[in-house]
Symmetry: C2
Subunit: 317 residues, 2 copies
């Protein structure tokens, strides 16, 4: 059932015991939204468990409450409401099976049409963290540095620190209001951007894989097992392809195992969310991803062909 | 003479014919502030010439009015006031000699103690563009998309798109207000970050020069003539050294000619402005630079020794 912010607040007010979760392969918006909401619910006396069914990126350990995040182990007892943030219910791993409770799903991905008890989707918001901010405002929450740091991180990471097209005046006003609570944007950005020396040297390896297709409109990085072993994280790599003059779609194909790749796409005009969806993925018009069951070489060919086709379709449209 | 915003407004109101300039090696704050102010002055019927005594980075050609910027050629006739933005009068090239007029100097660099007729320095502002915004507000300016785009660019570039420590709640509120005038942060950031394919491949070459000193606290990139020829621009390279875990000072030594290097420094704690000043340069605590009259190899040794010494002095302080 689709609900509005008031109904979301009502559902939260009604219950006592919450599990909050978000998507696998969690990013700043996922973790920041989960922890920002958790800090508030704890402050008003609710019981809250924060579960993510995946490994956590260490860079986000600057988030207050990071230590509260854990993987689900067994059937979750004593739960009144499962709150799913920043994703539909299809990307929360086994939490869907382990939590037998009504679901409140809050998200900013337009593709989210999950069948849940309570669904609030606002695709005009730059981040789910922005919606949580609005929800907390609606609930007259007393903000503090912990809540503000989590929500600032959520928002800033999903709009590329106020650089992407999803950044609105409201996004920046919320950012300003959160900064008033002694949030340190430099400490957040430094923690998120931090890489080991080996990983920085790995950028050079990744760049050596750079290939250009479709008269310079597509730039591709292929992160093989060897390169991945050196880099560990490929965070930010796709931006190196995205910034090339004339490139519309930047794509990164990353080794997961012998027969699986993770595909990430960033675009200036092409709707990469549509492309990702044809491979069972999703995202936003200008930033999307999917998993492909193929080795790196074959996945490269498949995704490049799909992007080329999409570009041709749009030229002909 | 030190003045306040009202006095700055009074001086501008009083005169009719202006030359506006900024520092050599101009950045987004320099160009955005000059053009933002120029748009306003033209709108209220003043005569304005915008001069920069240096080549202009092509990436900023998205700034409305970019075509108004030119190099000074000869003695400037018919000038009532020279407005110097974002620098003291020591870094404006030969404009100081060519313009025989009173000087209004507006800047956010704390090191600016220029001897001029009218000096307004506010080191608490993230960018000179922020001060121009405040001045225009004070003068009850009618903002438009041109002014807003220039000032947004000025502010966003100097605070690393709201990531650096100089970002305040006010910085973000001004950003929000400027976005209301249909400013497109994604188009600005894409234009500024844009690199040629060759330049992106050059990042790999630059990374191969990465050296670490002082137990990992100093990371250095050395851009030799050969690498520079391939990269053209080294914009953003220093960030690749800055993000390395444990690094306090990132430094880039860039070839200018056989016996001249440009040094850039970024820091997390060390006051790199002080170090730059000992070599005749300057800047901010966390971002500073200077020119060194030495080949790349010798300049590397000199600057690393100076940074090491500065770190030791501060540990002993």
């Amino acid at each position: 059932m689709k609900i509005d912010l008031k109904q979301a607040a009502d559902v939260i007010t009604k219950y006592k015991n919450f599990v909050i979760t978000s998507h696998v392969n969690p990013d700043g918006d996922a973790l920041g939204s989960v922890l920002g909401l958790a800090h508030y619910l704890k402050a008003i006396g609710k019981n809250v468990t924060c579960l993510i069914d995946d490994d956590l990126p260490a860079n986000f350990n600057i988030l207050p409450g990071y230590e509260l995040l854990s993987k689900p182990g067994q059937i979750i007892e004593k739960i009144d409401l499962l709150i799913v943030l920043d994703t539909g219910i299809d990307r929360i791993g086994q939490i869907k099976e382990l939590a037998n409770a009504p679901i409140l799903n809050i998200d900013h991905h337009i593709s989210n049409n999950s069948t849940v008890d309570y669904l609030y989707v606002d695709p005009d918001r730059a981040a789910t963290g922005e919606i949580i901010f609005q929800l907390l405002k609606f609930m007259k929450a007393a903000f503090d540095k912990n809540i503000a740091t989590c929500l600032y991180t959520a928002i800033a990471t999903d709009c590329g620190f106020f650089r992407y097209a999803n950044t609105t005046a409201l996004t920046m006003r919320i950012g300003a209001e959160l900064l008033e609570f002694d949030v340190k944007p430099n400490l957040i950005s430094e923690a998120i951007e931090k890489k080991t020396l080996t990983a920085v040297r790995g950028i050079a390896l990744a760049l050596n894989t750079l290939e250009i297709f479709k008269n310079g409109k597509i730039a591709l990085l292929a992160i093989t097992q060897d390169i991945l072993a050196q880099c560990v994280s490929t965070e930010g790599f796709i931006d190196l392809a995205r910034i090339i003059e004339g490139v519309d779609v930047a794509v990164m194909v990353k080794y997961v195992d012998e027969n699986t790749c993770r595909i990430s796409m960033r675009s200036k005009t092409t709707n990469v969310s549509l492309i990702a969806e044809t491979f069972g993925g999703g995202g936003h018009i200008r930033a999307a991803g999917c998993t492909m069951h193929a080795p790196v070489g074959a996945a490269k060919e498949t995704i490049v062909a799909a992007i080329e086709q999409s570009m041709e379709d749009s030229y002909n449209a």
